[in-house]
């Protein structure tokens, strides 16, 4: 070690012009003092609960806030957190009672108003919160947040929210939705302190919440230091002293820093390192299913795909894809071939059913060719698969999928990849219904419910129904499921609806994405929650 120090100074001395700082500080590589040093990405939007819809901002909110419910990190079940009880007799009117004693880290108590004011703010059109549609089940949403572009709100507050007392409020929905209480663990539903409204800019610079951590410093674009909040009274306090989040632009660099002992935890192992990761980290590498499914969607509004026989065609394409081979060769087993439209993290009780799409989602090139020929061949003789080329390295697997289809059909020109320059452009083409051919689609769950995998994507006119799929039977079954009084019955009804998707194949399930993480020998008890985010508050630091 002495030797290494001397050489480091020699390097510095070589460039005399800037030797001053070279040998001084910067030796923070040893001992992190009970604090977890973790990799992070720059959040895309300001850190507000209803304006954060991606995982990097979400992981901070989940450390700083606790909502009415929290999803169990292991089982994904929604469990009461701030809520004492959430009851309903008709699946439409809910009575929410809060546990007493919860406070924000600035001392302000968490009351019914903390929720009502937050939800009214989140839903109001003027505030342009990207997660506003999550409040659309609440009565009065259409007045606060009219749907048409250019419309003005005719009310400032949601009429479905009524305060009963400081520890109780009621929610009236505009339709029956038995699983509503289980959605309340999502970050959009977090409570907000008065400071959020009185000094918004200061709050955004350093958000204040009611969770096990408080933010001690936040430098946008660079990093954030979170420290354990000693005043936290909840059942899940932090077992470490804090978390230092460092922004990395390149996951390779974060991985190199982990190897060098400069970082304790990376939650995104770069694809290029997947071959070495077992050797580098041994059992300090986690690779397990996450709540993400990848599909190939079809523009069902386009005449190429709307004919009567097109469903058969789509089933044929599905059977032409060799999923196990692609997940093994391209993804090094960080994906699992999909046999339904949900995710294994839901568990059997939550609605995941392996093999729900069985023959139609299995590789059978002979049958695939037969089905496609029965349906009159590929529209126009060939198809393309669109993807965005700027992030996510989709090219490899799209080419592999096309290869698989080409081999099955014995035609080298049947399928080619069609890259779109940027993600924004790609999304615009989808939103504006300009797609003429197959395109990649991905869905990351908001909350671990079967409803979240099916309704937003396949219900007629739903917010993320990119295929513009519409089937009366599917819609009827979803409505029926939402009106069921028990969650188990709702899940069963949803699975019936899902069987309709096997018939119509509006999107081909490809694979479930795994979450991955690697950590240093300093840490123990590192686990990933169903959202594939590390459970920071349970990490022990040696």
């Amino acid at each position: 070690m002495r030797n290494a120090m001397r050489v480091r100074c020699a390097v510095g001395a070589a460039a005399i012009a800037m030797a001053a700082a070279a040998c001084g500080g910067g030796s923070d590589t040893s001992g992190s003092g009970g604090v977890v040093r973790a990799s992070w990405g720059d959040p895309q939007n300001p850190l507000e609960p209803a304006d954060t819809n991606e995982v990097q901002g979400g992981k901070v909110l989940d450390m700083v806030f606790r909502g009415l419910k929290k999803y169990n990190p292991k089982t994904a079940a929604a469990e009461n957190m701030v809520a004492q009880s959430i009851t309903s007799t008709d699946s439409q009117n809910f009575d929410i009672k809060l546990k007493p004693g919860w406070t924000f880290s600035n001392g302000e108590p968490v009351t019914a108003d903390s929720f009502i004011n937050a939800w009214n703010y989140d839903a109001l059109l003027k505030n342009a919160q990207v997660n506003a549609p999550f409040f659309s089940y609440i009565d009065g949403y259409d007045k606060v947040h009219p749907d048409a572009s250019g419309a003005k709100s005719s009310a400032q507050t949601l009429s479905g929210l009524t305060k009963v007392s400081d520890t109780e409020f009621t929610v009236r929905l505009n339709q029956k939705f038995s699983l509503f209480p289980d959605t309340l663990g999502y970050s959009a539903f977090y409570p907000l302190p008065k400071a959020f409204f009185s000094n918004h800019a200061a709050w955004l610079a350093k958000p204040i919440g009611n969770g096990p951590y408080e933010i001690s410093s936040y430098t946008k674009g660079t990093g954030m230091n979170l420290v354990k909040w000693d005043g936290y009274k909840g059942p899940d306090p932090a077992v470490n002293k804090g978390v230092d989040l460092r922004v990395y632009t390149d996951s390779n660099t974060a991985y190199t820093d982990l190897q060098a002992g400069n970082l304790d935890l990376v939650d995104d192992v770069p694809a290029a390192q997947l071959r070495n990761v077992k050797g580098d980290l041994g059992n300090r590498y986690i690779n397990e299913p996450a709540g993400i499914i990848q599909t190939l969607a079809f523009p069902l509004y386009n005449p190429r795909w709307s004919s009567a026989k097109a469903a058969e065609l789509r089933q044929g394409l599905s059977m032409a894809i060799n999923r196990p081979q692609i997940t093994r060769q391209i993804f090094q087993n960080t994906r699992t071939p999909a046999t339904d439209w949900t995710s294994p993290v839901l568990g059997a009780a939550g609605g995941f059913k392996a093999g729900l799409c069985n023959t139609e989602c299995s590789f059978d090139p002979a049958r695939a060719k037969q089905l496609i020929q029965q349906a009159g061949g590929l529209p126009g003789g060939s198809i393309t698969i669109s993807y965005n080329a700027d992030t996510g390295s989709h090219k490899e697997w799209v080419d592999a999928v096309c290869n698989s289809i080409n081999n099955a059909l014995g035609n080298n020109k049947a399928c080619v990849g069609a890259p779109v320059g940027t993600f924004a452009d790609f999304r615009n083409k989808i939103t504006n219904k300009q797609m003429a051919n197959t395109f990649r689609a991905g869905w990351q769950m908001d909350y671990p419910l079967i409803q979240d995998f099916l309704q937003p994507q396949y219900f007629t006119g739903a917010s993320s129904n990119d295929s513009h799929y519409s089937n009366p039977n599917f819609d009827k079954l979803v409505n029926q499921a939402n009106a069921e009084s028990s969650p188990a019955a709702a899940v069963r009804a949803y699975q019936d609806a899902e069987r309709q998707l096997v018939q119509d194949m509006p999107a081909i399930p490809l694979w479930y994405q795994n979450g991955s993480a690697g950590y240093s020998a300093n840490l123990s008890n590192v686990t990933l929650n169903p959202f594939s985010v590390p459970v920071y508050n349970e990490i022990k630091v040696a």
Binding site: V11, G12, K126, A148, L204, T256, A260, A424, R427
Partner: protein
Amino acid sequence: MGRYVIRRLLQMIPVFIGSTFLIFFMVYALGDPVAALFGDRAPDPATAAQIRRDLHLNDSLGEQYLIYMRNIFTGDFGTAFNGQAVTSLMGSAFPVTIRLTLVAVVFEVVIGIALGVVTGLRRGRPVDTGVLLLTLVVISVPTFVTGYVLQYIFGVRLRWTAPSVSPSAPVGELLLPGLVLALVSLAYVTRLTRTSIAENTRADYVRTAVAKGLPQRRVIVRHLLRNSLIPVVTFIGTDIGALMGGAIVTERIFNIHGVGFQLYQGILRNNAPTVVGFVTILVLVFLIANLLVDLLYAVLDPRIRYA
């Protein structure tokens, strides 16, 4: 001299306006950024319309450009999507990148010129051939390869330095990234200096200086080197702009949150204010560096005068 500088500064105005418009136009051509804000989810029309109105995206390109320019002259470069003012992004990014660039330039000047002089004076000897071969290798290997390899060797294997640079980016931590950034240009500086020196060793004024009986050191430094440096100075001057803008790869590898990082984020998220703002400043840096180079000619070679 003064009039020359003023004329050059005035020439910068049309270049500035033209380049900002071109960049603005190109970022605009990337398309509507609002959809990407919603991730894989379709934006609800009302919220999207609200955001478009706030960002003036419904106005024509010309109007948007005028609004942008009007704001720039009041010191408002707009905001990035995470709500930060672009000026504050610049405030944190430029000092880091300038430091990195300076480290790189110092490497270029010190090592590049020294190697160039040694090889130029010993043409055809083993030292010359060896260095030439080495520069050829350095030029042909892409920056990201040298970056990752050196990072792994010095950061992970030998542990002489941390593989990534901490947020404050002290000069000590920038030595390795600076070297990586400088390597290719360093090789060019070596070759330029070598050729220039080799040519000038046979010049009349060098022979005169030697005949006068001046010590060899003085001949080389005062007479030979000073005249040989003109092409090298031109190269380094234009290279400063290239280094600052071209640091994207190096900054990514070493996780330096400088100009390259912000530009990369801005392009990825289609954020016109970030991209246009940063590139505009880079254009200015380029122009000023060129002006300084032209002025330096006069210092190096008294025969060159500006009116």
